[in-house]
Each structure stands twice: as C-alpha cells, then as structure tokens.
C-alpha cells in the first residue's frame, strides 16, 4: 500500500470535514447556543490534524491501485467518524465518547440508529450536525472529495468502486470527476425540492432541512421523539415518496436528464424495486386495516413504513412494533433487500438479488441438463463471470458477517427478536428494529462493547463489506 498517499488523502478529507462543520457552527450561532465552542474546538482539531498530515506527507507519489482505493475509503470513514463524534462529546450532550462515536457512525453510514433517550433535549446545532452527517455519508465523502478536488488522478475509479454501493459501478460521463459532480448535483437538486415541498406542508424550516437530509441520505435521524408521526399527512406522504425516490439508482436520474427514457424503462432493477414496494404496501395495508379503521390511514402508514424500511431510512409514523406478525415479517425481509444499487440506500441491493436469483435458476437448469450453456442477462446485456462471482461471494460473506455480529450480540440480556433485528437494522443501515430496539425505543441499553460491534456493523454495511474487512488483512498494509 502506498501509505503516504493514503494518509495524505486522509488529511485532505479531514480538512473537508472541518469545512463541512462550519454549517452546524453557523446553525449554533443563529440559535445562540453554547455548542458553538464544541464545534469550534473540533473544527480546529480536525483541521490541524488534516493539515499536519498533508504537510508532512506532501512529498508522495500518486500511484494508486485497487488496494489504495479500498484503504482510503475504509480508513477515512473510520477517521471521519472519530472526529465527527467530538462535538457531541465535547458539548457533553452525549457524555460518553463511545456513545458519541456510535451516533456519528450511525449518521455517516446513514443508519439512523440512536442511543439518545431524549432527542428533543439536544441543541439545534447538534441536531443539525447529526442529520448533516446523513447527507454527507449518503452520497459518500470520497465522491464529494472527487467532485471538488481530484482531477488529475487517472485511477480514481478505484475509490469510486470502493465507496459507491452496488455490484457494478459504472460511470455516467467519461471523467470520474464529472461523474462525481453529476451525482452530487442530482443529489442536491432532489434534496432542495424536498425541503421546498415540506415547507409547503407547513413544516418549520429547520425541521424541513433536517428531515430532508435524513431522507436524502436514507438515514433516519429526526428531531422528535415520535419521528415523523407528529407531522401532517401531507408531510408524511412527501417524505414517503422521497424515501422511495432516493432508493432509486442515481444513474437513472442522469439518463432522464439526458432524455434517454428508453434506457430507464428497460431497467430491470427499477421495476423489481417498485413492484416489491407496491406489493408490500398492498399486503401490509390489508393486514393493518383493522388497527386504523380508515383506508387512507392504513395505506399511508403502510406506505410510509415500507418506504422507510426498503430505502433503509428508518423514519416512522407509528410504532410498527405493535403491528401483526405478517406485516413485521414483510418489513424484516425488506430490511435485507434494501434498494437499488447506486442509490444512497443500504441492504443487499435489488440488482444483486436479481443476479443471485438468475444464477440459482441457471443452476437448476444446469442440473437438469448438464450440458446446457446459460448466460445471465440483465437489462438485455450479458453479465460477465467476474461480476456474478462477486455477487455470489458478496452474498456468502454478507451471511457470515451477519452471523458473527448476531452471535456477538447474544451476550446481551435481550430477546432473540431484539438482537436479530438490531443486527439487521445496523448491518443494513436502517436504524430501528423490533421489540426493545423498535421505533419508539433506542440502542441506549446495549453495552459499550456491543455498541462498538454495531458501529463496525454499520460501517461494514455502508461500505459493502470488502473495504472494512480488507482493513484487517496484512496484505493491504504491506509496504510496496
């Protein structure tokens, strides 16, 4: 690994984080809160460390290969979370540093799992920073870095592959820098539209911004104890629709922008995703109709929760922990599916499930007729062997990781349902689970050890396993 280059880049990223922290600082100033100092100290410390790394490592060669891409992504996500946790800790609003770290990782990985028992007691600056981490983490810190800084690196595709979720990472436009810019422009535009639409619904400006950040990154941090439940049905519908929109592959938005509608309509992943969402909404609406007594309310709550879970956001309008078993089962399964590749959502990703499904079907054909040659096609194009192998291996590794985390959580004095859904909720970057970690509860009761495990699980899930696991491989660190 080209350590100098990796840590130089980390220095640049820390400076970016320091710059991003100016926004919550401004919010604190507007609301005249004492948290200003927590932000100022963190900002200075982050900038200092970042600047020092850049200064001492300014002489480095720029060669980058796949391993450097993985290393930069994994190391920087951990480092950004470590520094991002400082404001919570320094302002004493989250007195324990590990709790603050959990909260920040949950923010950057767009999970939305919280250890806070009383969210409404938090200052505006902290609430803003918490949700802003969602927004930054959703599209990716390094994609942002590429959009504004790099331009010279020929091999920045390695960073993009490591950070952007999905089995196949393609570029929208020839240059990586321009691709990153297009992604962020779409991201910003969608966020702004949502803020405006929420303002129309009478939601206060601060709440609109924070909730739009939470939706855009498919995170799920809110400002109220009952999440979105207290807002008008209009606002709930807006957020539900945007959660589904942010779960769609951003490449499709670009295709719409350049008026290649046919390619959008041919996209198999989109149809499977939307089909699953609507089927789930329909079934759950029937299932919970008797609890609410009105079709409109049943459909709204069902749609909101399905959108929230499938996009791995984690907002809620009602306590779905009280829903019947069928609805809860569907929600639990949707947690694993997640949304489309190339979106800000977590989970296994629909495209991967399609690939694995088609591979299984081919395997069955092959068993019946050992000499058949079957190719896997997606969107009318043949998928090459390496991609298929990667998808299958990803799925296996995903299962192993899930089992390991679940086992480590078993030492806690909670029910199987709690631990299982907590693992699923963190690993898939959703947020709330069932039972003791349901939408009306939180993760505060877990031990510090389990919180670290879950923080790691969130990073694993957001970066799609490989970068974080490679961090433990000696081969990655070997000097070259």
């Amino acid at each position: 690994m080209n350590r100098k280059m990796v840590f130089f880049t980390l220095g640049q990223l820390l400076l970016i984080e320091a710059a991003l922290m100016v926004l919550p600082l401004i919010v604190s100033l507007i609301y005249r809160e004492t948290t200003v100092f927590a932000f100022l100290i963190t900002l200075a410390a982050t900038a200092l460390v970042g600047g020092a790394l850049m200064f001492f490592l300014r002489k480095h060669n720029k060669t980058m290969y796949a391993r450097e891409g993985f290393a930069i992504v994994a190391i920087s996500w951990v480092a950004l979370s470590l520094f991002g946790a400082l404001p919570f800790f320094l302002s004493r609003e989250i007195p324990n540093y590990i709790d603050a770290f959990f909260e920040t990782v949950s923010g950057f990985t767009t999970t939305g799992a919280s250890i806070l028992t009383n969210i409404e007691a938090l200052s505006h600056g902290m609430l803003f920073w918490r949700s802003f981490t969602h927004w930054v983490g959703g599209m990716g810190v390094l994609v942002f870095y590429m959009a504004i800084l790099s331009g010279s690196s020929e091999k920045s595709i390695h960073i993009m592959r490591a950070e952007v979720p999905g089995p196949i990472v393609g570029k929208l436009v020839p240059r990586a820098k321009d691709t990153a810019r297009v992604l962020y422009l779409i991201y910003i535009a969608l966020t702004v539209v949502e803020i405006i639409m929420l303002l129309f619904g009478g939601m206060p400006l601060f709440d609109s911004v924070v909730h739009s950040f939470g939706t855009a990154g498919t995170g799920g941090f809110g400002v109220k104890a009952d999440s979105i439940g207290g807002y008008s049905p209009y606002c709930q519908w807006v957020i539900a629709v945007f959660m589904i929109l942010f779960g769609i592959n951003f490449n499709l938005y670009y295709l719409i922008l350049i008026r290649r509608f046919k390619a959008v309509l041919k996209n198999a992943e989109l149809w499977v995703y939307l089909g699953t969402v609507f089927a789930a909404i329909a079934v759950i609406s029937f299932n919970i109709y008797s609890m609410y007594g009105s079709v409109a309310e049943a459909v709204r709550n069902s749609a909101f929760q399905v959108a929230s879970i499938v996009s791995t956001t984690g907002y809620s309008t009602v306590d779905f922990n009280l829903w019947p078993g069928l609805s809860k089962t569907i929600l639990l399964l949707l947690m694993f599916m997640g949304s489309c590749a190339g979106s800000t959502a977590g989970g296994l990703k629909v495209s991967r499930i399609i690939l694995i499904f088609k591979m299984c079907r081919n395997e069955l054909r092959h068993l019946l007729n050992p000499r058949t040659v079957n190719v896997v096609k997606i969107d009318g194009k043949q998928v090459d062997g390496a991609t298929l192998k990667n998808a299958a291996n990803y799925f296996s590794l995903y299962m192993f990781c899930f089992a390991a985390i679940f086992l480590l959580l078993a030492f806690e004095p909670f029910s199987i349902e709690t631990n299982f859904s907590a693992t699923a909720a963190c690993f898939n970057n959703i947020g709330p689970g069932f039972d003791a970690v349901g939408p009306s509860a939180n993760f505060a009761e877990y031990s510090l050890f389990s919180k670290l495990i879950l923080s790691f699980a969130m990073l694993l899930g957001r970066l799609e396993l490989f970068p974080m696991i490679l961090l433990f491989s000696r081969g990655l660190w070997r000097k070259k």
């Binding site: 020929e154 595709i157 090459d384």
Partner: protein
C-alpha cells in the same frame, strides 16, 4: 472535448492514455471486456462494450455529442464503416486507422472523400517514414521533420569524444557558424531550453533545428559521420517493414529482409522487387552473420516482440553495425533500451498518439492558429509544435526580442514560402508563416500561448 475511441488495443490504449492526460473526456468502445476493464482501471475514461460499427454502441457512447471519433480497431473495414456511421450519427470529425497497403494507394483519397473522414492514420507507414528519415541521417538519434521537410530537428546524443562536449553554446556558434539552433537539451531526467551560456557536456541529448542542408553542413563540420545508410537489414516483415523497404529501395539502398513465416516471405518477395528476402529465424546469430550482418550500415529489428527486438539490436551493435534500431512499443522497455546504449528506438504507438494529440489540440482551437505537427521529445518532457501563423496582433510583425515569451519556450524556426529562417532577435513572424515552437513547459493549443 468529447472524444469517442473505438478499439482498445495497443495503439488504442496509448491514444487513450495521452488524450486523457490532455484533459479530454474519453469514451472507449471495444468488443473485448478484458481490454475495456484495463482501460477503466488505468485511465479516467468511460467504456462501452460492443461493436464500433453498431449504432447502439455508438449511441451509448454519446456519439451525437462527440467532437472527434477515432476508429483504431484491428480491422480497416470496421474502422471505415464505423467512421461512416459515426459521422452520420453526428460526430463532428472522424479519423480512421487504415493500414492495409491496398487501401493506402490512390483509393485512400477516394475513401477519405466519400466516407467524409477528417483523417486517415497509418501507424505503420508513419513509423516507416520516421525510420527512413533517421536512416538518411544515421548519426542522429532521432529526426523530426516539419513543413514538408523544409525544417528538420535532429536529436544527438553527445559521446565523450564529441567535438561539442564541454562547449558553451555561444562558443559553438562561433566555432561552427551556420543557420542552426540548439533548442533543447536533456540531461539525466531534466529538460532545458538552453541560452548562450549553457555548457554542453557528454551524455547530453541535444535537439538541433535547421534546414536539411544546413544540418548536413553542421554534422560534417563537427565530424560526426553522417553517411546515408546504403545497406539495411530488417528482421520481421510486418507492414512497417514493407513500407520502409519500399522507400529504401526507391532511394537505391540494398535491403535484406529476414522473416520466419514462409507465406509472408513470399508476399514480400512478390511485392518488393530488388529486396533480398530470407526465410529464417532472425534470432539465429549464424543466420544473421551469413546474411551479411557485419557488412550492413544499419540493422533494424521490427518484430512484434519488444524484448526480441532489443536483444537482437544489442547483438548487432556488438558486431559493430553502425546504426541499430529496435521497434519498442512499451515505454518502460524504451528506457531500458536507451540504458543499453540503443539511442534510437521507434514506437509506432507513440508516433500515432502524437498525431492524435496534435489533431485534438487543433480541434480545440479551431479559430486560432492551427497546429500542423506535434512531436513529443525527450521522453515526452518537451514538445515541438508547428503552427500556422494567423494575423494575430499579439505576435505578428513584432521583433522576436520584443515578445515576452513564457519561460521554457523558444521560437525554433520560421518557414516562409519554403524558405527556412532560424530566427534571431530582429526577425518577425508574418501571417501565413509556419512557426516551429519548442517548449518544456505548459501545453499549448495556440501560437498566442507562447506569450507570457
């Protein structure tokens, strides 16, 4: 600028490398997924898998927004067809690689006209022409020609016994008067645009610009042998060999060709009257000696294997052949060859990528002074560019000594109606002149870029 490149083979990937380095947005098309993976891994470019002559693939590559389409696949026919379709689908300019000798005669003009090609590039022919120029002046490591050979630039490696070693440039001018200019010097890894006080030392690689006759005079007076190579031995009968042999035979040289493949030998012997064609393995030393290696003026190894070419040339050099030239396509190997004392190497890849870089820069700057030729010198650290001067008040009719040039930039020659001027402080650039610029600094698109 949006550029679509079809074909990611040896030439294709070199062109992609140099054009992405120039900051263009490149989309590459190929049928081979592995080749495309190598492109995405190594260069900042987008890829499309498919047949370049298929409108779907071209559409996906965004051909309607492309300013330049370059077809570099292995098949001339696919190149022509894809250029034709790309042009119809909205590509502004199209360039095809056409390397088959059958298309490179009178039919080329017809093809270019009716397929509406902005250019047809034949890397093998370009390499052969460069080799031919070098063989005319074998003492030079490299020869670049500008404006239909009215101005040449040669690269010389100064040997310890050279008369120039230890001389300051102003003293050199006094000792060897003439119309020439030492415009660029490479010492170790650094490239200098020297002034009069610059002292040459052994091991330097210097670039001299002058008209061909002046160059002959200068080389004669500094005592560097410069007899034209009269008998040439070539190993590997590829297309480059064919074109080169044809030129050499027309100039009256003796050519011996050694080729393993019998069928190819037959074709050569059929097409090249007067050449001695030997069927056998060029790596066989006895065979080379038997064919008269020790009495040849120049030995060229043009097989498809860089390693074999370098080793064969090294062997020939030990047998005191005055000029040996290997064909080396990979840059890393070219450096190794130079370390082994093989000053001259030829790389068809590099030659054609220079052509495309020049072409793309000229397109980018379609209003200003056009780039006519572009050469990368001294391992790509310096460039020689030929511009077509316009009536631009920022440089026209101003004595050169009054133009504030950018650092590391030099006006190395002016060609005015076939007359070559090696410019001094009082000379001026006039509209319609061809101006040759040497630069070791920023990249230039326009003649006006020389001004600070």
């Amino acid at each position: 600028m949006n550029i679509v490149i079809a074909g990611c083979g040896k030439i294709g990937s070199t062109v992609i490398a140099s054009l992405t380095a120039e900051g263009h947005s490149i989309t590459a098309i190929d049928t081979n997924v592995k080749a495309l993976d190598a492109v995405t891994d190594n260069f900042d470019a987008m890829t499309v898998c498919g047949n370049a002559a298929d409108s779907d693939a071209l559409n996906e590559a965004g051909i309607d927004k492309a300013e330049l389409f370059v077809a570099l696949t292995g098949s001339d026919e696919v190149n022509m067809l894809s250029c034709f379709i790309a042009k119809k689908m909205g590509a502004k300019y199209t360039v095809a690689r056409i390397r088959n000798p059958e298309y490179n005669d009178q039919s080329l003009g017809l093809l270019r006209l009716h397929l509406d090609l902005a250019g047809a590039v034949n890397p093998d022919y370009l390499a052969a022409r460069e080799l031919f120029n070098i063989l005319k002046l074998p003492s030079a490591a490299n020869v670049e020609t500008f404006s239909r050979r009215n101005l040449e630039m040669i690269e010389l490696r100064l040997k310890p016994e050279s008369a120039l070693a230890g001389l300051r440039l102003m003293d050199m001018r006094k000792k060897y008067p003439g119309q020439y200019l030492v415009g660029v010097v490479q010492r170790d890894d650094k490239v200098y645009i020297p002034d009069g006080n610059f002292e040459l030392s052994p091991g330097d690689k210097i670039g001299i610009t002058a008209s061909p006759t002046e160059l002959h005079k200068l080389l004669k007076s500094i005592g560097t042998t410069q007899k034209q190579a009269k008998s040439v031995m070539i190993v590997g009968a590829g297309r480059t060999c064919f074109y080169l042999a044809k030129m050499l035979l027309a100039g009256g040289s003796n050519v011996t060709i050694i080729e393993k493949d019998m069928k190819r030998c037959n074709e050569m012997s059929d097409a090249l009257r007067g050449a001695v064609v030997i069927n056998g393995d060029g790596a066989n030393q006895d065979l080379l000696l038997e064919a008269g290696l020790e009495n040849t003026d120049a030995f060229l190894s043009l097989t498809g294997m860089d390693e074999e070419n370098i080793l064969l040339c090294y062997y020939a050099a030990t047998k005191n052949v005055p000029k040996v030239i290997p064909k080396v396509n990979r840059d890393e190997f070219a450096l190794i060859a130079e370390k082994m004392g093989l000053d001259t190497v030829v790389s068809p890849r590099k030659i054609s990528s220079n052509v495309f870089v020049g072409f793309a820069r000229a397109l980018k700057n379609s209003l200003g002074s056009k780039i006519e030729t572009l050469y990368k010198l001294m391992d790509g650290k310096a460039e020689a560019l030929e511009f077509d001067a316009q009536d631009d008040p920022s440089y026209v009719r101003i004595p050169l000594k009054d133009i504030r040039l950018k650092p590391n930039t030099l006006v190395a020659g002016i060609i005015r109606s076939r007359k070559t001027i090696i410019p001094m402080g009082n000379d001026t650039i006039l509209p319609g002149d061809k101006v040759v610029i040497l630069t070791a600094g920023k990249r230039m698109n326009d003649l006006a870029d020389i001004i600070k």
